[in-house]
Symmetry: C2
Subunit: 354 residues, 2 copies
DNA sequence: AGTTAGCACTCTAAGTCGAAGAGTGCTAAC
DNA sequence: GTTAGCACTCTTCGACTTAGAGTGCTAACT
């Protein structure tokens, strides 16, 4: 890693500051005038030249000002930026919005609200993925007859997620029978993972046909849940991003929007990106970092929330590369904290029970 | 209503046809040349002038060609357009995509798939709202203990929708008790509306504390469900719309996008717009028709799907006013039919049971 | 009376030109 | 190492021009 002189750091900082504000290339003269530097523009010019040579800045046109490169932004985020705490007033405002929701809401209502708050607070697009159990354990099974041969399976996992699935049985079956089956499965297999259930089922006496049928479905659902690292993704504030000058060309705008619209791609991308982050950890992807070429010119600030060893989801902000990181990062971190609390409050206490 | 001569109809038709294709104002000369009219451009010019005077066309610039007005498009859709059947090949393709989904999927998975198919088929943005029961009847209640005092209520309605809600009880309560309570409620109140439940509950002996607690929650959920005319709205293909030339200015694009992003507004708008349509009926909103001013320059083609007297939802396409209605309308109609079938197949047979 | 040819006119889109302004690199002096 | 100065480049913007498309009107034709 190159070592920058203090003055180079200062100048890089100022360039990024100014560019973040105006979205315009910034030149030596502007820099000196705006920030009352006690060196001349020529000196700044020299420094700009070396910073450009080192790859922190770039010159789009031979004689236009400098623009920070991806590398420049990464250096800024890693070294130069001081993340101040989120001001008390903002925190209050967010908490206020967050807690005025009725208590008795489903998980996905939190997500939507969180996405909405984060979008307005950051002035960019937000993404929130549902919290999923890190390893799936059965908490409760409900079998509900819907019509002749159709049964609705509702599976509540440790952590409070639930999955639902319609299945069609071979023959007619009535609700009493279903209740008995679900009772049996619940008493025998509650708080077990899919693997554990499979093992136990093998050991014990051959099961009844009905039991086996539903048990298979239960295990399938749990396996799927295990393999799907990221749940439903909610986005909000997409129109915020389109307001940024870098997306004035509708072609660029579409490119960015497409990323947010293709949920499956987005899901797998999120899970890959955040995989090796601890809960509470922040991951910053600048210019896509080679993972999605379409992310050129965009950045993601992602945080993982949830309960360690139990459930986790992702929350984050999508915006232009030129985003006010020092404000966005604490906001995302704070929202992640809130969501973690929310998860703990409502279901966390069960975690230490099994 | 003005009466147009055959030639005027022809010319209006051609103007709309051409404008739909090119998004450019169209003039007399082009018209004659492209369509080999056996009248001269001067004649066409005269007709264009009267059509403009009548308000079917408009001249953006004194000496540019004509552009159809909202009124023009409405006349076109109502009178001129012949909606051909959707070609067999398209129908096959759509069906193929639709039925390759696994059978055992939740309602919202259908919606998403339907939205995605409709978006690609129409090349515009699509919206699908979840099918909601026209009047809510209780089908099955499940009470699931999640932690100390927290209980997950899952309510399955006639029609197969379900609502879930976390509630916190006053005191600890165990799963056996919950199962008994839910059994009682199920046997006594299945297939009843919220009103019927209230009446019956009043008549019979004062209920136990627990029963009353949950029964109240059940009724609340059902009331809410009754009052919420439109369920979750899924959108897809927003980026398609941004590709249209009328949204090249990012400001226009944002305006349109915002409509699709604000789900609550969108929901109430949809329910208001489609309210007095029969199932299978198509509603076409051109230029917003004064309901949402932001819809200037955009159109909606909406259809209601579901089962008469039982469940209904909305599916539709959002695009520029200049959309190929004669292709979009049959597509939407066909998709609505498919969704109706889907709803009937999976839950419809229960409807005639109570 | 309806249709057409012809013509003068208008307006947009696209290209050219020049001046202003911002920024650069380099050199020579401090 | 820093600075002043200078020549140069490049973008932006307005003014101007031209080509092309389209219009409205009038007079002639069927």
């Amino acid at each position: 890693m190159e070592i920058l002189s203090d003055r180079q750091k200062l100048i890089l900082n100022l360039v990024i500051h100014e560019f973040t504000r105006t979205a315009q290339p910034v030149g030596s003269k502007t820099l000196v005038e705006k920030f009352h530097l006690d060196v001349s523009s020529a000196t700044v010019r020299n420094e700009l030249a070396t910073l450009t040579e080192m790859g922190f800045l770039e010159q789009r046109h031979t004689s236009g000002g400098r623009v920070p490169t991806e590398k420049g932004f990464r250096y800024f985020v890693r070294v130069l930026m001081q993340t101040q705490e989120l001001p008390e007033s903002s925190r209050r405002m967010i908490e206020h919005q967050f807690y005025q929701m009725q208590q008795d809401q489903g998980v996905d209502d939190w997500m939507k609200l969180a996405a909405s708050i984060l979008a307005t607070q950051s002035g960019a697009a937000s993404l929130v993925s549902a919290p999923l159990p890190i390893r799936t354990e059965l908490r409760h099974l409900a079998l509900i007859k819907v019509s002749g041969k159709q049964v609705l399976i509702i599976l509540v996992m440790a952590g409070g997620q639930f999955q639902q699935r319609f299945v069609t049985t071979e023959m007619r079956i009535d609700q009493n029978e279903l209740t008995m089956l679900s009772n049996e499965i619940n008493t025998r297999f509650a708080n077990k993972t899919a693997q554990q259930i499979r093992q136990e089922a093998l050991i014990t006496s051959p099961a009844s046909e009905g039991l086996e049928f539903f048990l298979n479905h239960v295990m399938n659902i749990m396996y799927e849940s295990d393999n799907m690292k990221t749940g439903e993704v909610y986005t909000d504030g997409i129109s915020n991003v389109l307001a940024e000058p870098e997306f004035a060309e509708s072609e660029d705008a579409r490119r960015a929007l497409k990323i947010l619209e293709e949920k499956p791609t987005l899901q797998s991308f999120l899970s890959r990106a955040i995989m090796d982050q601890k809960i509470g950890g922040i991951q910053i992807l600048i210019g896509g970092e080679g993972m999605l070429t379409n992310l050129y010119n965009c950045s993601l600030v992602l945080a993982r929330y949830g309960i360690p060893e139990s459930v986790s989801g992702t929350i984050g902000v999508f915006g232009p590369m030129r985003m006010p990181y020092s404000r966005t990062i604490p906001t995302v971190r704070f929202m992640a904290g809130l969501l973690s609390d929310m998860v703990s409050d409502s279901i966390g206490n069960t975690t230490f029970r099994n």
